[in-house]
């Protein structure tokens, strides 16, 4: 604890505080833009930091990282344009809330949830980093494959009222995920080298959400004078708090371990959190129409995962995300080598960094919470401007990745797909999950089997994998049991009359 207090002394010097402020502001800005993310920003700022002290630089980078996680949610909620892949899920309920005049509440629950998760995550980081990190390297491809399988299994919960349409959407997503040359050969690239690295999930999400939505609205725009979206009351009501705090905690519980896992990342915990909240909610009918739990959970999850990422980074010098990899690079350029010896060799830097994470979190809350009602007013600008602005920023985001017109073409193609999905009532989330999970599932499976030389028994050769499979079986048994007891209890899948006949075939398809 003394060490942490000393850390605060490092973090709270005027210079370092200034760098923290610059960091969170920059992070929020780049988080807002699709295309530019915290990893790229930190990388671009690397040369500048040669001239400042290591502590200041690392403190600024941590601010950018946390800020990016905040910023991504703002545009998700307001414009349906996720700035980062980790805030894609936030757009689903968040934007619906904004459309019915609850943007302030959505932004507030995102900000406070991020703060809560970031703080708890940082506490866990302080407690666990020195000791627990080498546990994570015990997990191999078989364990990750099991975890991905569990995630894919969980998808059935969000397939929507028509299982058929849910599967159509999921498999379209999986097909999009096939594009690229990850396997060493070009799949579905149509001979275009621009497609060799696959299609960026952010481009898909922005196209399906923002462009698809804008086109759909254009086709059905209310021509009569519009009633303005009410700003509503600016702050969260008692009820909102009551509905938010549990999702915050559960989101943190998902996000932190996934962040710490080498192949975990921030995306999977956000949608696991979403699915969990949807299952547990007392008002499942509100999901898809703007349920605050669907914003609170995923936003907590992505910030907690950012904190989790720092565990293996600091403890064994293992970067688990792109941003962490660039921060590691920065540390190395100062001649600092993260690892077990870091805590004893560079106490000032480490504890200064940890303290600055608390500072960054608080700064973000202080900066973002008062902004929520102001941002919400943005939705009152005239409709033509609002949708023109959405198209403008979505295009800018896609263009900024490579400055290539090709990416804008992709945006349009998937935007039209998004339009078609709205016309035909296809749910959006399964597609997004398919794009994220498909390639990972394949990568982990082929890695596991390549290492074992094709011996399938390797898949249950790790204890974690066995536990995960048991969980899947338990859920299955639970589902069957609840159906036998007379159909659709509150935990029944979706609660639609067709579920009985459909769910069994669902499972067969999953195991195929």
């Amino acid at each position: 604890m003394d060490l942490l207090l000393e850390g605060f002394q490092t973090a709270l010097t005027p210079t370092n505080l200034l760098f923290a402020v610059i960091g969170v502001l920059l992070g929020t800005m780049v988080g807002v833009l699709p295309g530019i993310g915290p990893a790229m920003t930190v990388a671009l700022l690397l040369p500048i930091t040669y001239n400042v002290s290591p502590s200041s630089a690392v403190i600024m980078f941590a601010g950018i990282y946390y800020g990016g996680m905040y910023g991504g949610s703002t545009t998700s909620i307001l414009l349906n344009t996720p700035g980062e892949s980790s805030s894609v899920v936030t757009a689903i309920e968040g934007n619906k809330m904004a459309k019915v005049g609850r943007a302030s509440q959505a932004l507030a629950t995102a900000a406070i949830g991020s703060f809560v998760a970031g703080t708890i995550g940082t506490v866990l980081l302080v407690l666990l980093a020195p000791t627990v990190a080498d546990v994570v390297v015990k997990l191999g491809a078989p364990s990750y494959f099991a975890i991905m399988l569990l995630a894919l299994f969980a998808v059935t919960a969000v397939l929507g009222s028509s299982k058929l349409r849910g599967f159509v959407s999921l498999f379209l997503g999986l097909a999009i995920g096939l594009v690229g040359t990850t396997t060493g050969q070009a799949r579905l690239t149509f001979g275009r080298p621009q497609l060799a690295d696959g299609i960026d999930i952010v481009v898909v999400a922005v196209a399906i959400f923002a462009i698809g939505e804008a086109l759909w609205v254009a086709a059905h725009l209310r021509r009569k004078p519009l009633e303005i979206i009410p700003v509503g009351q600016p702050w969260m009501s008692r009820e909102d708090w009551g509905r938010s705090w549990k999702p915050w905690l559960r989101g943190t519980a998902y996000g932190f371990p996934f962040g710490a896992l080498p192949a975990g990342g921030a995306e999977v915990p956000t949608f696991l959190s979403y699915i969990t909240e949807r299952k547990l909610s007392k008002r499942p009918e509100e999901f898809g129409k703007g349920a605050i739990e669907g914003v609170a959970g995923p936003e907590a999850a992505n910030n907690a995962s950012a904190a989790g990422t720092l565990v293996p980074l600091l403890a064994i010098g293992l970067p688990t995300t792109a941003t962490a990899a660039v921060i590691l690079l920065a540390l190395q350029s100062y001649g600092i080598q993260p690892g077990p010896q870091l805590f004893s060799a560079e106490p000032e830097l480490v504890w200064g960094l940890l303290a600055s994470l608390f500072v960054a979190n608080t700064l973000l809350l202080v900066l973002n919470l008062p902004m929520a009602p102001m941002w919400a007013k943005l939705l009152q600008i005239p409709r033509p401007y609002l949708y023109a602005g959405i198209l403008f920023f979505a295009s800018l985001g896609a263009y900024s990745v490579n400055f290539a017109a090709f990416d804008l073409g992709l945006l349009l193609v998937f935007g039209l797909l998004g339009l078609a999905m709205r016309r035909f009532g296809l749910p959006v989330l399964p597609l997004i999950i398919g794009v994220i999970l498909g390639p990972r599932l394949e990568e982990q499976l082929s890695q596991a089997l390549a290492i074992s030389q094709g011996d399938v028994s390797t898949l249950w050769g790790e204890p974690v994998a066995v536990v995960v499979y048991l969980v899947i079986v338990l859920i299955l048994v639970g589902m069957v049991a609840s159906r036998l007891r007379g159909g659709n209890g509150p935990s029944g899948p979706g609660g639609d009359p067709e579920a009985g006949s459909d769910a069994s075939t669902d499972r067969e398809r999953l195991s195929a």
Binding site: M40, D197, A324
Partner: protein, 328 residues
């Protein structure tokens, strides 16, 4: 309604004023010899290997006022193939260079592109990175001999991991090494990881037997003893770790992961001389030496025609390796 409309206008106005006041004419620039605006393409994302080298070179040139400002663009896609195609398309452009390296040579083949390195104008090779053979702390392999003996006995049973995809340096190195010691590269069990981080994890958890990669990303683990280096791939030992070269270990192979600078094809001899001179002057500066030291790069400077010959040789060698594996 009126209020917010005025708000939008005010915001727009403020943006314009701020823009024009702070930054008018950023794309302009005088075109005399000492102050030319050059463009540099980098075929991977900010923070990546080519990016670090390219930006370090550009910064050194700018800081020493050797030319005007550099406009750096990261052109991503297909491990550099997209950028190479663009370089080919900009035939004759006299203000463009591209930072690249061995990985791009291989990527062009695996992506079946026509934009081969041998078609571009060679400017300079700048640095090299040695590949290292890494094993976990408790690995049974104590030396290159141990590894070679076991590997030869049952080639498929030794799992080799690398931080690049098929065609990249971490892939080419084990394949060429296998061939050198008499193993059919097709029998090698190669597991591709998405960069140094995941490869470290796999090694630390003993999920694979051997890792082959540039050593920069493993400094920490090597220092604390959780990973050991059996050998390095260069001509000479490196200061970074205490390990023999492959040749000392009895394997007749020298392999280096180099990075350099190319210009588009079809530029004038004068322009080519200008670029070669520019990078030669840069190479001689104190700042560049500092960059080499800070980043742990080995100096490996080569220019003009000699670099051209080297490129030609690399191009053929990589093509042969990949052809044998059926990857081109």
């Amino acid at each position: 309604m009126m209020y917010t409309r005025r708000g939008v206008l005010a915001l727009a106005g403020a943006l314009t004023v701020a823009g024009s006041a702070s930054a008018c004419g950023v794309t302009g620039g005088r075109q005399d010899a000492s102050n030319r605006r050059l463009r540099m393409m980098i075929p991977n994302s900010p923070g990546g290997g080519y990016d670090q080298t390219g930006r370090a070179a550009a910064k050194t040139i700018e800081d020493n006022d050797l030319t005007g400002r550099f406009e750096i663009r990261n052109v991503l896609g297909a491990s550099g193939t997209v950028a190479m195609q663009r370089l080919l398309n900009e035939r004759g452009a006299d203000d463009l260079v591209m930072t690249m390296g061995l990985g791009v040579v291989g990527a062009v083949f695996t992506n079946k592109s026509k934009a081969r390195v041998s078609r571009m104008t060679p400017v300079a090779r700048l640095i090299e990175d040695q590949e290292g053979i890494l094993v976990p702390k408790d690995s049974p392999f104590e030396s290159v001999d141990d590894l070679v003996a076991t590997w030869k006995k049952d080639p498929g049973a030794v799992t080799v991991g690398g931080g690049s995809t098929a065609g990249g340096p971490d892939f080419l190195f084990p394949m060429q090494m296998a061939k050198t010691i008499g193993i059919d590269p097709r029998d090698v069990t190669f597991i591709s990881y998405d960069g140094g981080g995941p490869l470290t994890t796999a090694l630390l958890g003993s999920k694979i037997d051997v890792g082959m990669s540039g050593l920069g990303e493993f400094e920490g683990q090597i220092a604390d003893g959780s990973l050991r280096v059996l050998a390095v791939s260069g001509k000479e030992r490196t200061e970074m770790v205490d390990a023999p070269t492959l040749t000392e270990g009895g394997v007749d192979l020298v392999f280096s992961n180099w990075r350099g600078v190319l210009a588009p094809p079809g530029i004038s001899a004068e322009q080519r001389r200008y670029l070669v001179d520019l990078f030669t002057t840069m190479h001689d500066t104190e700042e560049w030496r500092e960059e080499l030291r800070r980043n742990g790069w080995t100096d490996n400077f080569l220019t003009g025609d000699e670099f051209g010959d080297y490129l030609q040789e690399q191009d053929t060698r990589v093509e042969t390796t990949l052809k044998e594996l059926g990857l081109t």
